[in-house]
Amino acid sequence: MPSTVALTVARYRPERDSEPSFETYEVPYRKDWVVLDALNHVKDNLDGSLSFRWSCRMGVCGSCGMKVNGTPKLTCATFLSDYLPGPIRVEPLDYFPVIRDLVVDITDFVRKLKQVKPWIIRKEEKTTGAGEYLQTPDQLDTYKQFSMCINCMLCYSACPIYGLEPSFIGPAAIALAQRYNMDSRDEGAGERLKILSEHDGIWQCTFVGECTKVCPKHVDPAGAIQQYKLTAATHWVKSLLLPWGTR
């Protein structure tokens, strides 16, 4: 077992670099260390100027998504031991503009997420006194998988369509729209249909399937998109046959 492992990290300092370069650090190898531990070791002991995002260290907050040896990963759940003998290459997520080192600008994703209205929409809200909206375990089961999304954006970084067509709403936003569409308490599917069935919505997706492969929470965004394609196509046929029925 090695005592150290080489960590090759992408650096971009906008005040002096015109493009990213790589810097290699020798970090101690420990069996229970993840890539994020190694990055924190670099920041605390070797180079305090290294910038990266992290928060919870337990695969819940979705902040520490980076590319590890070319694959989008949550660095808090990616063990050094899986990449021996190294070097381990750490880069910022693809397709997002890089602000500094490993930090990317996520404004585009946040804007798209808001567009699909990922919250429960009711035609008429019940008053608090009227009680809660009840749901059976089977009803919960229909959307639960999609509700596991932590907005880590690994799926965007894995999606070549998002890279080639930046206007694409993208995997996580569509999966989260589906999460609410399939919720028995929600009545907002009609409002989401417009944005989802537009050119930049589901129809941009050509089912590469990489989003599902990299998802650390097994959300299956590719499945959500294909399932919604069926919903949108059915709605379109219905609107042709029964123009008055789909209003």
Partner: protein, 138 residues
């Protein structure tokens, strides 16, 4: 003012990575995806040959004889062999993706992926046997 890059604290100077034309060669799964998309050309070719066949049948036995003779020439045999491989690849890769797109619920529970996949392959096999039976009977 220095000639350095324009950058202030409140206006980040992003680095935007350009997607290479060769992005699909960077990963095996990307290359397989592009290959799967390309198979549609061969599926279209099969459809064209069928249309050509229907037209030849419509024009009478002589034209149909010519059509069959042309199909037996080496270039067509080679093209058909390549087409067969690609169409097979097309069918298998798409069938393998069906569980993601087809969600079937029985008694409130989702039917597992292997059952969806098995049903699709079984339907494919049965249809192929039926077509083979019709073609080879005479």
């Amino acid at each position: 003012m220095s000639a350095g890059p324009h950058y202030t604290l409140y206006h980040p100077r992003w680095y935007r990575h350009r997607v290479s034309v060769w992005w699909w060669l960077k990963k095996g799964s990307y290359a397989l995806f592009v290959l799967r998309e390309l198979t549609s050309v061969f599926v279209a070719f099969v459809a064209m040959v069928y249309l050509w066949q229907v037209r030849a049948i419509g024009q009478g036995p002589e034209a149909y004889g010519q059509f069959l003779a042309r199909l037996k020439t080496p270039p067509f045999l080679l093209l058909n062999a390549i087409t067969f491989v690609f169409v097979l690849f097309h069918a298998i890769t798409w069938l393998n993706l069906t569980p993601a797109a087809m969600v079937v619920r029985l008694r409130g529970k989702r039917v597992p992926d292997w059952a969806i996949l098995g049903a699709n392959y079984a339907a494919w096999l049965l249809l192929s046997i039926a077509v083979a039976f019709v073609l080879l009977r005479g």
